[in-house]
Amino acid sequence: MAILIGNDTRLLVQGLTGREGSFHGLRNKKYGTNLVAGVTPGKGGSDVEGVPIFDTVREATTATGANTSMVFVPPPVAADAILESHDAGIEVIIAITEGIPAMDMARTVTHLRRGQRAAALIGPNCPGVISPGKANVGIIPGEVCTEGPVGLVSRSGTLTYQIVYELTQEGIGQSTCVGVGGDPIPGSDFIDVLERFEKDDLTKLVVLVGEIGGDAEERAAAWVKENMRTPVVAYIAGFTAPPGKRMGHAGAIVSGSQGTAAAKKEALEAAGIRVASNPTEVSAIVKELL
């Protein structure tokens, strides 16, 4: 089945007429993703290599039945773009844009998680989602992926490519790879994605790729222990990273964690999750467990 995106995905790209938006949108189309529309206010009626452009998301969904949106618009208007997609009934919103103010995301995510129709938001500041062989929405290079039983969720971009590449080299395919992004307020965190993987019949094992900062990995560890039957393998980057120029102490008081790689590794291992010491070891452990 895969999660979030697949054969049923009907993609619209907000910002398809932009340089980055058209490059990646068309690249996703070439991969086999069903790209049905683009939205750029004021450019409705035109097209990008045959893909129709609409002025509003609502017009686009009405005309094309789009159910997934990729957000590729500049940071000052990105939160608005996410809200527009949600309001028009889009089910999965994947926001690639980097540099959206945290205040905007706090309000947007609060709104999206409330009410009857909760859309799944992945990102912002993320590489996107790929279900190999089915659909690719974002900037993950499709050629490093291959279809198979491993789900992957990560806060990082290129590190994800590295690990997926190593899995593929070992002949281990992926069900879906999800980059949740590195922003302070992500639309989805590890737990949101793990929950979907746990319910997915294609996914037999999940790789979780974390990094220093925050307590998302610690929370994921506790959740996995309580709720997951699918085995999880983890990798954490940042053991030798310099301590950030943190100011004030409120951050640590909130989470009760220092956010260090060592603390995360300990929490994951305490939940029975094996933690690889480098990206190459991830595929070795996965191979052993599958």
């Binding site: 290129t158 990273a241 909130v254």
Partner: protein
């Protein structure tokens, strides 16, 4: 971006949060003028972006303008945990009856805003959290609803703030919250919030951290930034669009994407080496960026080898190779450069490097092999 205390206080004042009257000074003469203007006893406080100023001798009381000059002279130039004092804040001194802690911040885990208050102020709040967690009150605030009076009451009564300070504290908290939201801050921390001898409540210190991503709607951020000094190498890197942090080792690191670069540091360390830096060229870096990155790294004389670890997504391997070849031709590079290249157009890039042999250029097939080679070569160079 973290703001200096005096910057934070100036901003808080604009939102109606009471702060002591004060002036910033960067010479003893300016401190004298400030002390005269303020009159009476003053406190001279080192302006550095690090805690523990008091313990380090960076905060001193002066009873006269002459004394203000003396203590300013002592504090300016002082090194506080690696931060050199360039400015002091001269403030009117007052009697303090009690000290509290309060802050507003973005709670990443709950994806909400969080208010924190404690009657144990003026001390290391992390220690209070560890030893007496019940002395800290936390109240979540819905970002769409904003602060309501009851949130302020919950914080103040919950933290058992002194009866004499309650009314003013309850009035100040919404102003502090207003500043937090309006300034696009990720943290507004007041430690201590004090009750004065006259029964007033005011912010005696301020730690404000603002969200750089919101800079486009806050022209003042650029102005606040002008007094922030970054090390020369980091400044050079930033100008060229690179994220650079200096470390103490001798293996220079260049990579794309924060996660991959952090992972590269880890594998270099595991291979027995010590990274000289963290350098992320970002996504979609072109040849010029790679060339600049090599320039920045090799400008550090402690570097004995460099590891370039690139996994191309939107970054193209051919452009990476072009940048490396350009740097090798343009700069006098005396240390070995180990290159590991995968992802988009990597094959093309590897071929370009093979066609342009250079005595300092070494290639590696995998990330781990690259780390091992770079560490080994750094060891030889260090002998």
């Amino acid at each position: 971006m973290d703001l200096f205390e005096y910057q934070g206080k100036e901003l808080l004042r604009k939102y109606g949060v009471p702060v002591p009257e004060g002036r910033v000074a960067s010479t003893p003469e300016e401190a004298v003028a400030a002390a005269r203007k303020l009159g009476g006893r003053v406190v001279v406080k080192a302006q550095v972006l690090i805690g523990g100023r008091g313990k380090a001798g960076g905060i001193k009381v002066a009873r006269s303008p002459e004394e203000a000059s003396e203590v300013t002279d002592q504090i300016l130039g002082m090194d506080i945990r690696g931060h050199t004092v360039k400015r002091v804040l001269v403030e009117r001194a007052g009697d303090i009856t009690d000290e509290y802690y309060c802050s507003f911040l973005v709670d990443r885990s709950e994806r909400q805003f969080l208010g924190i208050m404690s009657a144990e102020g003026g001390v290391d709040i992390e220690e209070v959290a560890a030893n007496d967690p019940e002395k800290i009150t936390r109240v979540h605030i819905d970002p769409l609803l904003g602060i309501s009076q009851f949130h302020a009451r919950e914080l103040v009564f919950g933290a058992d703030i002194d009866r004499d300070a309650r009314k003013e504290a309850i009035a100040i908290l919404p102003k502090l919250y207003d500043a937090f939201v309006s300034l696009d801050a990720s943290l507004v921390e007041v430690n201590p919030l004090v009750l004065t001898g006259e029964g007033r409540v005011m912010a005696l210190d301020a730690k404000v951290s603002v969200d750089d991503s919101a800079g486009y709607r806050h022209p003042i951020f650029d102005e606040l930034k002008t007094v922030h000094e970054v090390p020369e190498q980091e400044r050079l890197a930033k100008e060229k669009g690179l994220t650079f942090i200096k470390l103490d080792g001798d293996v220079g690191i260049i990579g794309n994407g924060a996660g991959l670069v952090m992972s590269t540091l880890d594998v270099v360390k595991a291979a027995g080496g010590d990274p000289a830096n963290f350098l992320d060229v970002g996504g979609g870096a072109g040849a010029d960026v790679l060339s600049s990155a090599l320039e920045v790294i090799t400008s550090n004389s402690e570097v004995n080898s460099v590891l370039i670890n690139i996994f191309g997504g939107i970054t193209r391997g051919d452009l990476v190779a072009e940048g490396i070849i350009d740097a090798l031709g343009r700069l006098e590079i005396k240390v070995p450069i180990v290159v590991r290249l995968d992802g988009t157009n990597a094959e093309q890039g590897r071929k370009m490097l093979a066609d342009a042999p250079h005595e300092m250029l070494v290639t590696a097939a995998t990330m781990l092999e690259g780390a091992e080679k770079a560490v080994e070569l750094a060891g030889k160079g260090g002998e």
